[in-house]
């Protein structure tokens, strides 16, 4: 695997006058919508052993966090990265209407695109990296990568016709994946804001190879979040971005109505968050200078007042009650506070951590963290 990777930052853009901060921030959405009662409530601890036993003691927990606004994935995550409630197309065809932390950060510090990344399992997150505001937008947006969607569409294409190559034909699949990248990858759910530059062929080839390598691993691919985790690690290894949003989403399998699969996804997300933190600690670029924020973007319906775990459309309290765990640089260890906070507070908190000016928004920075 290592042989496939080119030296870190070989393809990264250099921007004159860029001021990279000392600190790093990683925001993880414990995502897809998860209920408090299935996670941070006492009965839910069994589903989040790593958070409960390994991570919370290293940081601070806010058990009384609340998501306000629409209870869809794009708008709730949009609120996380802007600090303001969003009300745009739920399927991701519109960008957030207020500036994202990625744009504010990059614009103020004159940073290249490689400094901010969104790695998302959710296929509708192509426009999560930047707002639709004229002074911001693409020139300052984060790179967005939707690895699951890219891989799935390639597999789907490969297996859906009798004429095409089967998935057992790895070389043919590799070629098809390259084709997918070359053919305007936005249509395949892949979007990278290029900021006036063109991604080099080498970078595209390298990313496609990494996906194929992952696909060829006998232990994979079993879930979109595993793939997202894999790609996140590679991006950290290569670009060491200062700001990273990792969107896990397997938990949304709850929509299938199988409670055991929902619980499995929670446990997997818990493990991946732990592994991600371990990985960050193994990299000099991140060790001791990184703050990790873990937060569900929203909850799911309650059993009685709502429609049950399968959905997140009732807007009841269970859809809104979440939690936040923070650890790493600048975070007091082994503490917690019942102080009510909002998921809208994440964006200004990240601004404080990375030292850039937050635009006017609804959220307020969490003073406990910096």
């Amino acid at each position: 695997m290592a042989d496939w990777w080119l030296p870190r930052n070989l393809f990264a853009q250099r921007v004159a006058g860029a001021r990279t901060p000392e600190r790093r921030a990683i925001v993880v959405t414990f995502g897809g919508g998860v209920r408090y009662e299935d996670t941070l409530a006492r009965d839910g601890w069994v589903n989040i052993p790593h958070l409960a036993s390994d991570l919370v003691p290293q940081g601070i927990v806010f058990p009384a966090a609340r998501h306000e606004g629409l209870t869809g994935h794009f708008n709730s995550t949009g609120a996380l990265v802007t600090g303001s409630r969003q009300n745009v197309d739920a399927y991701g065809s519109e960008a957030p209407v207020t500036p994202t932390i990625f744009e504010l950060f990059r614009k103020e510090r004159a940073l290249p695109p490689e400094e901010t990344w969104v790695v998302a399992t959710n296929k509708s997150f192509g426009l999560m990296g930047g707002s639709k505001l004229r002074p911001f937008g693409d020139p300052y947006s984060a790179n967005v990568i939707l690895p699951k969607q890219l891989l799935i569409n390639t597999i789907k294409s490969a297996v859906s016709t009798n004429g095409g190559p089967g998935v057992e034909d790895r070389q043919a699949l590799a070629e098809r994946m390259m084709l997918a990248l070359d053919e305007g990858y936005e249509g395949f759910g892949w979007k990278v804001f290029e900021s006036g530059r063109t991604l080099s062929g080498e970078l595209k080839a390298s990313l496609a190879k990494s996906l194929l390598d992952y696909f060829n691993d006998p232990a994979a691919p079993t879930s979109g979040d595993e793939l997202t985790f894999f790609m996140t690690k590679e991006i950290m290894n290569r670009f060491a971005p200062s700001l990273l949003l990792v969107n896990f989403w397997d938990i949304d399998i709850a929509h299938y109505g199988a409670y055991s699969l929902y619980l499995d996804a929670i446990r997997r997300t818990d493990r991946l968050v732990y592994d991600l933190w371990q990985h960050a600690q193994s990299l000099p670029a991140y060790k001791d200078r990184t703050t990790l924020l873990v937060v569900p973007e929203m909850g799911r319906d309650s059993d009685v007042a709502g429609n049950g775990f399968a959905n997140h459309r009732s807007g009841d309290e269970s859809c809104r009650r979440v939690w936040l765990v923070a650890l790493g640089a600048g975070v007091p260890k082994g503490t917690g506070t019942e102080r009510p906070i909002r998921t809208l507070d994440v964006a200004p908190t990240v601004a404080n951590i990375l030292g850039f000016r937050m635009a006017e928004c609804e959220g307020k920075a969490l003073g406990e963290l910096v």
Partner: protein, 442 residues
């Protein structure tokens, strides 16, 4: 606002009779009612009764009082600019109004005002439609034998609710015998037992159906059509056809999720003969809607059972409902995203059952069926719920007045359970049945 609703028969008469009140209602409410009336031929009798009662009730409210009651909705509509919508077809108006409310950030406010209105209306309608002396109802939920039941966790969602009744399962070694004895099916399978007259049977596999037709689907639709049956397994070819059609549509391109939903609703695909115990137009539309509107119902058999049961309780309101959950297959990697694709046969990964995960699932799903029933005035306070797991020598019974007796309950045979259900419903106890369980029926 004047709508052009394409109504016929009773629906047209109803709309004409109540045209005055329909004109006074805010456009979104009026459109909602007209959309329901448009579906009249595909509404179940309780749904028709509700629409009729709703219009009659609204018509009885003095004009000024009605105006006050709907003022909140009218205000939100005005704020959104709904009056500028030129569409006169109620369904299309509804779509446009919803999109407008969403765009203006007023959907939640509108929804709240609608809730306020119906919180005022519903008690009166419920008292009229579901009087306290309405007939008793019965819901039986069964876990199939293949599910890996964990006794210490069985029906744990109900905590201490209801009564655990020990069962004597001697002689009930297999599923067929278990189910036949439970429902009093002996000898002639073509006659529906009295306690299942008008019942709905919804299951993951087809064991319950087989009890009534011996597994011979050529016998169906049943002669008296008094039994409604939905089997996830028996609907396999129908589900495949539906999947193929939707996939073809996706491949050819859809303009929006709304357009895709409208296309899906317009599909007229019929299940194979024998797949359903009865197959009238209302039921065919119901099955299609269950598969298209319920998340996961196309993919997970037990989710199909729960969602179909919840919809049946809400819409058809059968007096008796029997569900039977089974073992679902393990989810294949990434199958979530290629569900509408038809992979080549050589690419198929064999299905692997998940009995342990299925137990966790059905504990939650059977609880949700109960929650849905208890939310419904047709069932609340009038229903005996029985929970059984094949091969497990106890059952859970929850009734309006179920309380633990002073002395331990003697183990009941399935014949006794059958007699109990019959007595509860006030129907003749089948020949050869046992003694009713007094703790449940007095």
């Amino acid at each position: 606002m004047q709508f052009n609703a394409e109504l016929t028969g009773d629906a047209a008469t109803l709309a004409r009779t109540h045209s005055g009140v329909l004109a006074r209602l805010p456009a979104t409410v009026s459109a909602f009612i007209l959309v329901e009336l448009t579906k009249w031929p595909l509404l179940f009798p309780p749904e028709r009764r509700y629409q009729r009662a709703l219009l009659e009730h609204l018509s009885r409210i003095p004009a000024d009082e009605l105006e006050r009651s709907v003022a909140g909705i009218a205000r939100v509509e005005a704020e959104a600019g709904a009056s500028k919508i030129g569409e006169r077809n109620p369904a299309r108006f509804q779509d446009e109004a919803q999109a407008l409310l969403r765009k203006r950030g007023l959907l939640v406010a509108w929804r709240s005002e609608v809730d306020v209105l119906f919180q005022k209306i519903d008690p009166a309608l419920e008292a009229q439609l579901y009087p306290g002396d309405a007939p008793r109802r019965l819901i039986v939920q069964i876990y199939g034998r293949e599910i890996a039941v964990q006794r210490e966790k069985l029906w744990s969602r109900f905590k201490r609710a209801g009564l655990r009744v020990p069962l004597n399962l001697e002689g009930e070694a297999d599923t067929e015998r278990f189910l036949a004895t439970l429902f009093g099916v002996v000898g002639n399978r073509s006659t529906t037992p009295a306690l299942l007259d008008g019942a709905w049977v919804i299951e993951a596999h087809e064991a319950l159906h087989a009890v009534f037709d011996g597994g011979d689907t050529r016998l169906k639709p049943s002669r008296d059509e008094s039994l409604t049956g939905l089997s996830y397994d028996r609907l396999r070819s129908y589900r495949d056809d539906l999947t193929r059609t939707l996939n073809a549509k996706i491949q050819s391109g859809v303009e929006s999720p709304q357009a895709f939903a409208a296309y899906a609703r317009s599909l007229r695909i019929a299940p194979a003969p024998g797949a359903l115990l009865r197959a009238d137009d209302i039921l065919l539309a119901f099955v299609r809607d269950v598969l298209l509107t319920g998340n996961g119902t196309m993919i997970v058999n037990n989710t199909f059972v729960e969602w179909a049961a919840a919809q049946a309780l809400r819409r058809a309101q059968p007096r008796v409902l029997a569900t039977r959950f089974g073992v679902r297959d393990k989810l294949k990697p990434f199958s979530s995203m290629i569900m509408f694709s038809q992979a080549r046969p050589t690419d198929h990964v064999p299905a692997v059952p998940d009995p342990a995960g299925s137990f966790i699932d059905v504990e939650q799903l059977s609880y949700y069926v109960w929650v849905n029933a208890e939310k419904n005035p047709a069932y609340r306070g009038k229903t005996l719920y029985l929970f059984l797991a094949e091969g497990v020598d106890e059952m859970l019974a929850i009734g309006p007045d179920t309380a633990a007796p002073p002395t331990a309950i003697a183990p009941a045979r399935l014949e006794d359970v059958c007699a109990t259900m019959s007595i509860w419903l006030g129907v003749p106890v089948p020949d050869g049945s046992g003694q009713p369980i007094r703790a449940l029926v007095g």
